[in-house]
Amino acid sequence: MALTLEQMRHTAKLARLELSDEQLTELMRPINALMEHFERLQALPLDEVEPTSHSIPVFNAFREDVVGETLRREDALANAPDARDGLFIVPRIVEE
């Protein structure tokens, strides 16, 4: 079940990580050690078992539709690498 370099490249792309082949190759060793460890799950009798996503039963948590406390705009923008006119500034997305 080991990941190939090609799969590593694809997964890094999905995760939005700019990594060189050298970096990916270095990461393959620890990642594939874990992948090998995961093999032990294959033998478990799990067909009839329901999956658990939370250890306690969590259902939809409803609340009244009323305005609560919110962040002030300047506080929300205070940590932004680039902000102007009350907005987050990102590199150009739409070409002229």
Partner: protein
């Protein structure tokens, strides 16, 4: 003044109320001690001396007005993944190196209200991923018992600060053992509450179905006091449970007669160092001699826990950490590469190797075609594990076992071994997967290093867990020995 710093929260609280020391004097003494000790231990990322003195003055005003409260004027510190309004919160990551939260985590807000004094933000493994605090982007923390050794992790700063008396108590977070394992390594008490007992609002998320915040303290009594302050339903965290939080101090009963304890046999194998197993078995024997009913039990799925955890936790992490994209906060690099290029460059530069490794595993495990083979299988394995815990808790009231398979290891010893480091959490991970409360209490020493006794309880039965821990603490009489960590003597 120095001797005061080795007292527990309960003991220093008495001195504050008896006006033997003022909150400001005490805080000044802690800050001086931090400045002397920190070069050796490096438990902090951001000390907050000015904030501490301001909070101490406010606390003293409340004390002067006659207010009585268990944490009023007591210097404490917080793991750096808990959001503190106006105080930098880095998660020990480059990607958040300059992040100043505009709000408090619920636990932080609750502690502010108690009148506790915040002396700083504590070091950790980046995004709480690690077992040694060596994966901090800033610097490693050292174990006060032996400065060549790690304090454990990921709440290594939280454990080391308490052991070295740089705070009377701290908060940590525990996703797979990150409170209990460092508590074991540093000779302090650490509690991971039941999932849902404490609000996670404002805790920077790693694996949301596993994360819990909890206290690290010098005594079980203090642990109950801190839990009283932070537990309870919070509308900001939909997974916090709407159960009345009891007064956890009522658990502090020095009587264990009739309590049924189970020793899960799998927790004494799995690479547990024989001396560690022996130390814990002796403790269990002593608990039996004062009236506990002890039996061996079995949790076969515990041996699959590491595999389950290292699918589920990275899967959740890959989703949670998607928010670090260089747009709203934190690091941004490569703005000239367009918006996607900027995100890819920012994330690659901002995250450390261990975090990137987990993001890739998680992304892969969730990706199309692999979901059933990994994520779904791990979730089903989690169900089996929980069922085995439920069955065992039909027979016993609590489980007792080692917290970690070994005492503290050396800095650098495991950092390059992909599995060995992760095995440090093999005895704590099952507890997170099942959502149970787990406490580590100092149990004894192996080769001069502290070793913890882990007590695991039924969901929302922190009372029994704390009671067993309290009885053990009274039997063990280790308090004086724990007062002076060997790495800081001379």
């Amino acid at each position: 003044m120095k001797e005061l710093l080795t007292l527990s929260v309960a003991e220093i609280n008495q001195k504050l109320h008896a006006r033997e020391v003022s909150a400001v004097e005490l805080t000044e003494a802690v800050l001086t001690h931090i400045s002397e000790t920190e070069p050796k231990v490096q438990a902090f990322i951001t000390p907050t001396p000015e904030l501490a003195l301001e909070m101490a003055r406010q606390a003293q005003a409340r004390l002067d007005a006659g207010e009585r409260a268990p944490l009023l004027g007591v210097p404490i510190a917080l793991k750096d993944n808990l959001c503190t309004r106006g105080v930098r919160t880095t998660c020990a990551s480059r990607i958040l190196h300059n992040f100043i939260p505009p709000y408090d985590a619920t636990v932080v807000r609750r502690l502010r209200e108690t009148g506790a004094v915040f002396v700083g933000k504590l070091n950790m493994d980046e995004f709480a991923m690690g077992s040694s605090t060596e994966f901090s982007a800033f610097h490693p923390t050292r174990n006060p018992w032996d400065l060549a050794r790690v304090p454990g992790g990921s709440s290594g700063g939280s454990a080391a600060a308490v052991a070295a008396h740089m705070a009377f108590a701290t908060l940590g977070s525990d996703t797979g053992g990150s409170i209990r394992q460092p508590a074991s390594f540093c000779g302090v008490v650490g509690l991971k509450p039941t999932y849902g007992r404490v609000s996670r609002y404002g805790l920077v998320a790693y694996a949301s179905s596993l994360d819990q915040i909890g206290p690290l303290t010098k005594t079980v009594e203090d642990c109950a006091t801190l839990l009283n302050a932070i537990a309870g339903k919070d509308p900001h965290d939909a997974t916090s449970v709407d159960l009345p939080a009891p007064d956890f101090r009522e658990a502090l009963v020095d009587d264990i007669k009739g309590i049924r304890l189970g020793a899960p046999k799998e927790f004494f194998g799995q690479g547990v160092q024989p001396e560690v197993a022996e130390t814990v078995r002796k403790a269990i024997g002593l608990l039996e001699s004062v009236g506990a009913e002890v039996q061996e039990v079995s949790l076969p799925m515990a041996e699959q826990s590491l595999a389950i955890y290292y699918i589920l936790a990275p899967a959740e992490c890959s989703s949670n950490l998607a928010r670090y994209d260089g747009v709203r906060y934190g690091l941004r690099v490569g703005a000239e590469k367009g918006h996607i290029g900027m995100m890819e460059a920012t994330r690659a530069e901002g995250f450390g190797k261990e975090v990137i490794q987990r993001i890739i595993i998680g992304t892969y495990a969730l990706s199309s075609g692999y979901y059933d083979a990994f994520y779904l299988k791990a979730q089903k394995g989690r169900t089996l594990l929980r069922q085995q815990f439920d069955a065992v808790f039909q027979q016993v009231d609590a489980l007792v076992c080692p917290t970690a398979p070994t005492p503290a290891f050396k800095l650098g010893e495991l950092v390059d071994d992909p599995l060995a480091m992760k095995l440090a959490d093999v005895l704590t991970i099952p507890v997170n997967l099942a959502g149970l409360p787990g406490l580590s209490v100092p149990c004894g020493f192996v080769n001069g290093l502290p070793v913890g006794l882990q007590i695991i309880g039924k969901p929302f039965d922190e009372m029994t867990v704390l009671r067993v821990g309290y009885v053990w603490e009274q039997l063990a009489c280790l308090r004086d020995e724990l007062r002076t960590p060997t790495g800081l003597q001379a």
